[in-house]
């Protein structure tokens, strides 16, 4: 049969293949044998990360058609995308939700690889590349948040600036390089645009190519079995045995699960995007609007929590040293534990570490979401005073209630369930502090409370303390200083057992 009688499609294919010559390498990659045990649902997260990366590149390019990377116009162009461009809001939502899913899937992939011991010999470099790919993914999430260019982006950058500014010696210079100038402005947005659109994605794609190449060359990690020890001398031979003698071709043996999961994850992104919509942009990026409560995006809330809990003198060393130690630890991991057991059944420290980090992260994120660190800035003027807290009070005590509101005490101290929660609620403060202690606390502060000595007149202080003394439940009396009664009686009563200076005073005969 002569070639001219072959169908046209076959002839076109052959014409192309003679010039590109890529059929061989693709066939080799697609049909390479993998151990049968790797055709597992646990092995789908790597391919899902890749799918999401492609999804992000495509949606990102789409947004790039409309986005204006100018500090004066970026916010407007996002509003225009949200409201005036057909499906613009959906594209923004897809990119935003795709980003959240990508960070999540990359983290799950990393935890799975760690628990399955896949970072051990000979896949050390694959793991190290992966560590940097995680950092780049987080870098994409942060720079993407900056490109949203709303109030949260602006003040998020300010937080970044303050952290960067703590670097010894070159901190100031680093801030200027990061901002592209002296303040957060148009040059800053241009820098982050270049980072988010060209520099980090370019590196990420190159690293991804190399990462996947090494997965193909070194083979997919076999399912770890307790007692199957990794040894540098024998591992390659054992793996080839597993993959060639008892293996299956990657396509279709293992790939169908990857395909199912990738489709499911993209569908989940689409559902979230359509249901919840795009992220912001929130308030206009005008630094003179200071009535704002900046919060970082979901994936950075845990850092926000840590920064709140660190004692002041620990802060700078921790911020500068902890990330370096963490990254070095991750990079060094395959060299520290490059051989030995792979199975999580025999690696309790590994299992515990993952659980510990996951719980810490979850708890810090939860705290970052719900902890009322900030004073409630409008409670003093806006929160209702419950009737029960004013009833049957003397004029002086009511005057104290007015001082309590007017001096912004309520921004940090709730009463009747309303107000700030930075300090303790004061509904029953009188049961905890005596009159003297109240004066002392109000005037001198202490225990993370500012001193109000210079902001209150003596009359205001008296009124305020009198009012605070009435704040106790009916069934529980206000705390009182026992020595007052003693002093009022002109000394210790005759039949007392009071100790003075450690000496028992004998009652007068």
């Amino acid at each position: 049969m002569s070639q001219s009688r072959w169908p046209r499609s076959k002839r076109v294919y052959d014409w192309l293949e003679r010039r590109i010559q890529i059929e061989g390498p693709i066939k080799e990659a697609v049909l390479h044998p993998v151990p049968k045990s790797t055709a597992s649902w646990w092995y789908v997260f790597g391919s899902a990360s890749l799918t999401l990366l492609v999804f992000q590149v495509v949606t990102g390019i789409m947004l790039g058609l409309m986005y204006s990377p100018s500090a004066a116009h970026a916010w407007d162009s996002l509003q225009f995308l949200n409201h005036n461009v057909p499906a613009g809001w959906l594209l923004r939502a897809m990119h935003g939700w795709g980003s959240n899913f990508m960070v999540a899937v990359v983290l799950i992939h990393m935890a799975q690889v760690f628990l399955f011991g896949a970072y051990k010999f000979p896949r050390e470099l694959t793991w190290i590349l992966g560590v940097f790919m995680l950092l780049m993914t987080l870098g994409m999430a942060f720079t993407g948040q900056v490109l949203r260019w709303d109030q949260d982006s602006y003040w998020g950058l300010a937080i970044g600036v303050e952290i960067m500014g703590r670097v010894p010696l070159i901190g100031g210079q680093l801030v200027h390089v990061m901002l592209g100038g002296p303040i957060i402005n148009g040059n800053t947005l241009s820098r982050f645009f270049a980072l988010h659109v060209f520099i980090i994605p370019g590196l990420l794609l190159a690293f991804t190519g190399l990462h996947v190449w090494m997965v193909l060359k070194l083979g997919i990690n076999e399912w770890p079995m307790p007692g199957r020890i990794v040894r540098r001398e024998t591992y390659i031979h054992e793996y080839n045995e597993l993959s060639h003698k008892h293996g299956i071709p990657f396509v279709p043996g293992a790939v169908w699960k990857d395909l199912f999961f990738s489709a499911a994850i993209v569908l989940a992104v689409m559902v979230c995007a359509a249901w919840f919509g795009p992220f912001g942009p929130k308030g206009v990026p005008d630094p003179t609007i200071i009535a704002t409560v900046p919060k970082p995006d979901f994936w950075f809330l845990w850092i926000y929590s840590i920064l709140s809990f660190l004692p002041p003198d620990m802060e700078t060393p921790f911020i500068l040293i902890a990330p370096v130690v963490a990254i070095l630890g991750l990079v060094a991991l395959p060299f520290i534990a490059g051989v030995g057991e792979k199975s999580w059944h025999r690696r309790p420290v590994a299992v515990f570490s993952v659980m510990f980090l996951a719980i810490c992260w979850g708890e810090l994120t939860h705290l970052g979401t719900y902890t009322p660190w900030s004073p409630q800035m409008t409670a003093w003027s806006g929160a209702v005073v419950p009737v029960g807290l004013l009833k049957n009070r003397t004029p002086l005590e009511r005057q104290g209630a007015v001082v309590f509101q007017a001096k912004q005490c309520r921004n940090c101290h709730a009463v009747g369930g309303l107000g700030g929660e930075r300090g303790p609620a004061l509904d029953d403060v009188a049961t905890r502090l005596t009159e003297d202690q109240l004066y002392r606390q109000v005037l001198l502060g202490g225990g993370n409370m500012p001193a109000y000595g210079s902001a209150l007149s003596p009359a205001e202080t008296t009124a305020l303390v009198r009012y605070l003394e009435t704040l106790h439940p009916n069934y529980q009396p206000a705390a009182a200083d026992a020595s007052r009664a003693v002093a009022a009686h002109g000394g210790a009563p005759p039949n007392t057992t009071v100790q003075r200076g450690g000496t028992q005073i004998a009652p007068p005969k």
């Binding site: 500014g165 001096k407 912004q408 500012p450």
Partner: protein
């Protein structure tokens, strides 16, 4: 696929490599590599200068900016002001506006605080009734003179250098204040002076963590 050229066998490759190792062509190739390294350096120099431009120009970043007239700030008051950053471009939009607090402690004495909390740079808010600055991020609080009152900040608010000329208040402004970048031309506070500026009239400056304050208090 029979049109493909057969690749040279490993032995052939090895042999050819050996022949080429010391030859005029190898020498010329090495010269070529060196030439490209040189050109690469020539290309890299302006790129590095370009990327580091914001640092190389940093001496120029401070300038005296007016924030208002002396008469606008009565003694005992603290007011929020905005000024246009002296180094801004048309495409900066609203981000070129910078807020700050001007405090007139007594007639003719002005202190200008940066808006940024000394903890992580969030914008602090002034409450004149309680004479406190409060931060919305992690609840840092400062007294009227800018010294730390409570919360996570390690130090007081950043201040700008101030001078009064022809009845208007000028501040030495231009860059976002951080621990290493002075808000103004004064000595870097973290390097020389201890954390907070001196207190004016305070009964207790700020509760020290190991002082008797904390243990005596049942609040917080």
């Amino acid at each position: 696929m029979d049109e493909k050229l057969p690749p040279p066998s490993p032995q052939e490759q090895e042999q050819r490599l050996h022949e080429e190792r010391v030859s005029r062509r190898t020498f010329l190739m090495n010269v070529g590599i060196a030439l490209n390294a040189l050109v690469g350096a020539v290309v890299a120099a302006p790129i590095v200068a370009y990327v580091l431009g914001p640092v190389l120009r940093r001496r120029e970043y401070l300038a005296w900016v007016s924030v208002g007239n002396v008469s606008d700030f009565p003694p005992g008051e603290t007011k929020l002001v905005n000024f246009r950053n002296p180094f801004s471009n048309s495409w900066d939009g609203q981000t070129a506006s910078v807020p700050a607090y001007v405090r007139c402690a007594e007639a003719g004495k002005f202190t200008v605080f940066a808006i940024n909390c000394a903890h992580l740079g969030c914008p602090v808010r002034w409450f004149s009734e309680s004479q406190l600055f409060m931060c919305p991020c992690h609840g840092g609080v400062y007294y009227a003179d800018g010294s730390r009152a409570s919360g996570p900040p390690e130090r007081g608010l950043f201040t700008y250098d101030v001078k009064v000329e022809n009845g208007s208040i000028l501040i030495d402004a231009g860059q976002i204040p951080t621990f290493r970048n002075r808000a103004s031309a004064g000595p870097c506070p973290s390097a020389t002076a201890p954390a907070s500026p001196a207190l004016v009239a305070r009964i207790d400056p700020c509760p020290s963590p190991d002082g008797p304050d904390r243990s005596a208090s049942t609040i917080g």
